[in-house]
Amino acid sequence: MPGWYFDKQELKHTPSGAAGLDYKTEMRYRKEGARFIIDTGMKMDLGYNTTATGVVYYHRFYMFHSFQQFPRFVTACCCLFLAGKVEETPKKCKDIIKIAKALLADNKFATFGSDPKEEVMTLERVLLQTIKFDLQVEHPYLYLLRYAKCLKGDKAKLQKMVQMAWTFVNDSLCTTLSLQWQPEIIAVALMYLAGKLSKFEVVDWVGRNPAHLRWWDMFVEDVTMDLLEDICHQVLDLYSQPEVKSSSESPPPGASRPAAASPSNQSTSRQSNGATTSTTASSASTASSTSEKTQISPETVPPPVNTRIPPPSDVPYPYQTFTHAPPPISYGTPVSFAPPVNTPPPLLGPSPIPSLLSAPPPNAFPPFVNQPPPFTPVVPPPNASFFGNGLPQGHTRHRPPFFPP
């Protein structure tokens, strides 16, 4: 039973690395592929679940194959294509390729070969075998909404925090976090980060008990502050990396572009001072939007600065994703969010599967009858009149309780 989680050492020893790709470039390829999946998914009106599932497939795929062997944008298309089918939001392969052609520079699209569809189809089988047909992937979104329901405090602030955490979750797809930690833990960490940045301190929560030091003790075990900080910084580091504007415009490996945030800024932010971090981030965001303008060439479709993955109709929180920059934090303007937070948001997303998560583990399912009844089979003669007297009373008396109370 392969686990889908890897430690940092394993993440540094991937097939790409073994084939000579340096770690930084691999991380950039991962980020570009993820961004490309998000951009393509967005252009095709695919929901956040489908997109996120596609990205997780992508990251898993490159734990077993190299970027040198499988060009990243073909793989990215293939992952999105498969995720679309798995999440019941299928898109035609040729339509995905059409979007890819529009989004990618010609030399990138050339990696699709002379028959792009065939290329994706062939790869799909490789992908399925690589990911062990483990199609069902959970994402932090669901947990984010679930946990948020339990937090008490200023509604507006809470909502702002949730919205910000949501964007961090979107952006975390560009990191390898989904290969390191379960979605529950990522959700907790990014809510913690958003809480810090939006100055929302959780002091009370529903279901609190004396054993809980922090609200997340209710949901996850053995999560240290160090771990949370580490996860947060993996996301924050995205914003201080050289701008990768669009998948088509990435610099060749090794070519360094002016960093949006200086290394010193970055190390300051490591102290996890909320204010410093947000400053770093906003400078990154300024830098990225400037460089974006200068880079647009007529052949490429410029990606939106703020990438929005449309929410399903039943997610009550308005949100935006800023893949390059953390959300702007303005404390001055009160933002009004329609539904109060303690209205339980429907946690069942657009994918039909998440509801299953609330079901008891199948193993805990007791059979209706534990003991075989003490009767031996009787083979009736043909047309025998079967036993039976009187009509059923129509109410239940005999059945043992199905679930333990």
């Binding site: 392969p2 019941e88 075998q129 193993n363 209706f368 009767f375 059945r399």
Partner: protein, 392 residues
């Protein structure tokens, strides 16, 4: 880096392709074993999606499996979404009364298959399917055994519905029974997840599901916002079949199926089924009126047990909202009065041959004609029409 080459150089692309083919051929996928670890013994089924084989584990010769081939020949959109659904759902459902998916195997990619692996779903082998058992006159179920079959069937349905899965292809051939008498719901090729729509948005599922003879009236009338009751209609049809030994309503068109249903369950109209008038096909289909409900009367010659008849009467209810759900059915006195449900193992031990519908193709038509109480089926290729009807 290969991906730095420019377009317009077919040679480099072709080279890349050949290299890739070799790579795929030689890559030893750690999580997807080769189908050659199993040795085919016999073909036991032919479905819409491909063949099913009985096979033996070469490393563990006592272990038998069923291998269902994923048919991909005519797929324009790659790995079929239906197979993906089936896999995902089977991976999720782990229950004694649901067939167990062991793994997915592949054939090695090679020049011979144009570097396209074939995939197999590998299941624990079950010796019989219910259609095969019912078609064999030598297999006789006692009342207690029938109860055991139906109790396990409903138990499986309760479990999958609890997990928000609709089976959508209930029929005797998709109900497997092991030689020890454990029933397993199988064939999740049409299954899908459903959610109880809290957001007020009705579901828009396809209603072209369920083999015609087991298809409930709401689907025949075009309902798209349906739920678990569709499977309970099928359970009702299977229940009656335990005694009649043949499907009870063998229509050869959707119209005829509705006619047969009306003749058995009474006229379909807003009195018997409030709201039916809003269904898409209500006005388009011919619905015989003035039909009395005859479920009890027509099935009594077969089902002598009054509890059985009463339960059937609660399953074959036109209005899906009034149809018994799995929990209610399991609570019915039928399962809690003597003779209590009893194990099938002993009875099945008398039969050393596997019984599958596929291996007994001539069943149904011959038997059913003797039963005057059941409408005569049109025999020509009826069974096939049930298959062709399915649209994805």
């Amino acid at each position: 880096m290969q991906n730095n080459h420019h377009s317009g150089h077919p040679n480099s692309t072709a080279m890349n392709m050949r290299e890739k083919e070799k790579y795929i051929e030689n890559f030893n996928f750690p999580f997807c074993e080769e189908a050659s670890k199993y040795q085919k013994v016999a073909k036991i089924g032919q479905g819409t999606f491909g063949e099913v084989f009985k096979a033996r584990d070469i490393n563990n010769p006592k272990k038998y499996v069923a291998m269902k081939k994923v048919l991909m020949d005519n797929e324009k959109e790659g790995f079929p979404i239906t197979a993906l659904r089936e896999i995902r759902i089977l991976q999720l459902l782990k229950h004694d009364n649901v067939v167990n998916l062991i793994e997915i195997c592949r054939t090695k990619a090679s020049a011979a298959n144009r570097y396209r692996s074939t995939f197999y779903l590998v299941f624990d082998f079950c010796e019989h399917d219910l259609a095969g058992l019912l078609s064999n006159v030598n297999v006789k179920f006692s009342l207690g055994e029938i109860k055991k079959v139906l109790q396990q069937l409903l138990n499986g349905l309760f479990y999958i519905h609890y997990n928000k899965i609709l089976h959508r292809d209930m029929k005797a051939a998709n109900v497997l029974i092991t030689k020890l008498g454990v029933l397993k719901l199988a064939d999740f090729g049409l299954a899908r997840a459903f959610s109880t729509n809290k957001n007020g948005m009705p579901n828009r599922f396809t209603n072209r599901v369920v083999t015609l003879w087991y298809r409930p009236p709401e689907l025949l009338l075009g309902e798209r916002n349906y739920g678990p009751p569709v499977d309970l209609w099928g359970a009702g049809c299977i229940m009656a079949e335990m005694w009649t030994r043949s499907p009870i309503m063998q229509g050869n068109s959707e119209q005829q199926q509705l006619t047969l249903i009306s003749q058995l369950c009474g006229s379909i109209n807003p009195q018997s089924w409030p709201g039916v008038e809003h269904l898409e096909l209500y006005k388009k289909m011919e619905l015989p009126q003035e039909q009395k409900r005859k479920v009890k009367e027509r099935l009594k010659p077969y089902m002598k047990d009054p509890y059985a008849i009463d339960l059937l009467d609660k399953l074959l209810v036109l209005d899906p909202s009034k149809r018994a759900d799995a929990d209610t059915a399991l609570n019915h006195d039928f399962f809690w009065t003597d003779p209590m449900p009893c194990e099938l193992g002993k009875m099945l031990a008398n039969h050393s041959q596997s019984m599958f519908e596929f291996l007994a193709p001539a069943r149904r038509a011959t038997q059913i004609n003797r039963h005057h109480a059941i409408p005569r089926p049109t025999t020509s290729a009826v069974q096939d029409s049930g298959y062709q009807d399915r649209v994805f």
